[in-house]
Symmetry: C2
Subunit: 301 residues, 2 copies
């Protein structure tokens, strides 16, 4: 190698030592210098609108990781299944969860219509030929972490399996004890420190790319696990739609930085070595959940 | 060693492999079996009350890590410095910050009275004889992590320096560019995923042990870095007090599990190996910010 910085990065990976910052741009400079072809528009089939009484969140779906759950969620959204349901649980430093408040009552629960009742667990998948932008720093939970197609991911030590990470904003499908008991009719979003112990224990199917504040500021539930005790405190879900199902004039359009572009690699380095003059300690490390995946609005909708 | 579980833990530390769960209690069982002498009452000199218009948060202060900042904060609280000031910044997935909205205006800013204007940086300290409950799992940012006297901490590879971690709920002293520009008159609390790149870059002086929801649900600021643009949106700080300064009948009393007790060590293992039947994947790892430090109310105040 003959490169002392690379030697330090490798030793640093083992011993968690900070390495001197390579000369390079800050986050702001990386974004300013990024080129148009490094930004990918999120296809309208992958863009979910979640409209709550508190405001709208946009989600990028991950059919590459959870094809069955995303397909079922599309069926549910197309049937307007979620409209008029509610946020039933908000647990501080954990999750916001919405679905049918009557789900446990066979007499009153809403029909899933053409959607499936149970789906196979999609906790992880084969690595196959997926692109992977690896992080060099160690991770407490996964043998390796990095980014695949716009999402923070983990990989096992054998480099055969990969999975989405429970970072802030991750969208998951609530389940009961059986691994195949989720169907995307009950959904949750992480609103606190990454509960990474849930990785590979539940199906993740996307991540919030806009409007997290409308979820994270909801009043916490006073019951066990943050469930609201009173129905009157539940927050109404106004509607949930796939952007592709909306008239074109109503579709929001968003692009995100390609996680397999040169600018994204520079962004990782900018987050690892904080070059802003405020930083007194070189840092020299970064974890997957602390690398922002930049998103741009292509319109004002 | 001759113990396959220990061998796995050591190999797992290097390769981030999950190890089979040792038989042992769940979090709930650990807490139920803990003994009275494993709970330590937080001294009233270390207990800070932060009363916002949205509700009250309690903070355990860390004079062992930031003696100068804690002493100055006591002076400020005793002078009622914070009463009538405001939360000026709420940045989603980052921090809530309160202080004097007129701090930048020498003509209008509130006097610090007997408190000091500048304090030495207390970013880290010597390990000395501090107790340390170490975590075995690797960490992206620190050579070693664990717990000292009720706080999640990092240590360097040489085992000479230690520092508080920016976990959810950490209380820090805002500063400008110079390392010695903080004085505890401008305070922030982490309300999102741990911004661990701030470790050793800013003085932490405590952590919120109750009432995080009154901070984390505040409306996000619409300005750069989450500052409120309009004064009318700032959230009033009603009062900030050290419990010891209140009449005894008004002091809340709280205890936390001793982080150097047998039960806390069992709790770490319970969080590492999630033994609740819901978990399909053994996990086998944990990070410092995902180990809760249990707190009990000794009264209803």
């Amino acid at each position: 190698m003959g490169n002392p910085r690379w030697a330090c990065l490798i030793l640093g990976w083992i011993a968690a030592l900070p390495c001197p910052a390579a000369p390079g741009p800050t986050t702001e400079q990386v974004l300013a210098a990024s080129t148009a072809d490094e930004w990918v528009e999120i296809p309208p089939e992958h863009l979910l609108l979640v409209e709550l009484a508190s405001g709208r969140a946009l989600v990028e779906l991950a059919p590459q990781f959870a094809p069955e759950h995303v397909a079922n969620l599309r069926r549910l959204a197309r049937q307007h299944y979620f409209d008029g349901l509610a946020v039933v649980r908000v647990q501080d430093n954990y999750v916001v969860q919405w679905g049918d408040p009557d789900a446990a009552d066979p007499a009153r629960r809403r029909s899933l219509g053409k959607a499936r009742e149970r789906l196979p667990a999609e906790f992880d998948r084969a690595v196959d030929g997926l692109p992977f932008e690896a992080l060099l720093d160690p991770d407490p939970y996964a043998a390796q972490t990095g980014f695949t197609l716009g999402f923070p991911v983990g990989r096992d030590a054998e480099h055969t399996r990969t999975w989405l990470l429970h970072c802030y904003g991750a969208l998951g499908a609530g389940r009961d004890a059986p691994a195949d008991s989720s169907n995307a009719a009950e959904l949750y979003v992480v609103i606190g420190h990454a509960p990474r112990h849930l990785d590979r224990n539940v199906t993740l199917l996307g991540r919030v790319i806009e409007g997290m504040e409308h979820l994270a500021t909801l009043p916490r539930g006073e019951g066990p696990m943050g469930f609201y005790r009173e129905r009157s405190r539940q927050v109404p879900v106004l509607r949930v739609r796939i952007a592709a199902d909306l008239p074109e004039a109503e579709r929001p359009r968003r692009a995100r930085l390609d996680t397999h572009s040169r600018s994204f690699r520079l962004l990782i380095e900018a987050r690892r070595h904080r070059r802003e003059p405020w930083f007194a300690h070189p840092v020299g490390h970064v974890e997957a959940c602390n690398v922002p995946i930049p998103v741009r609005a292509l319109d004002t909708r």
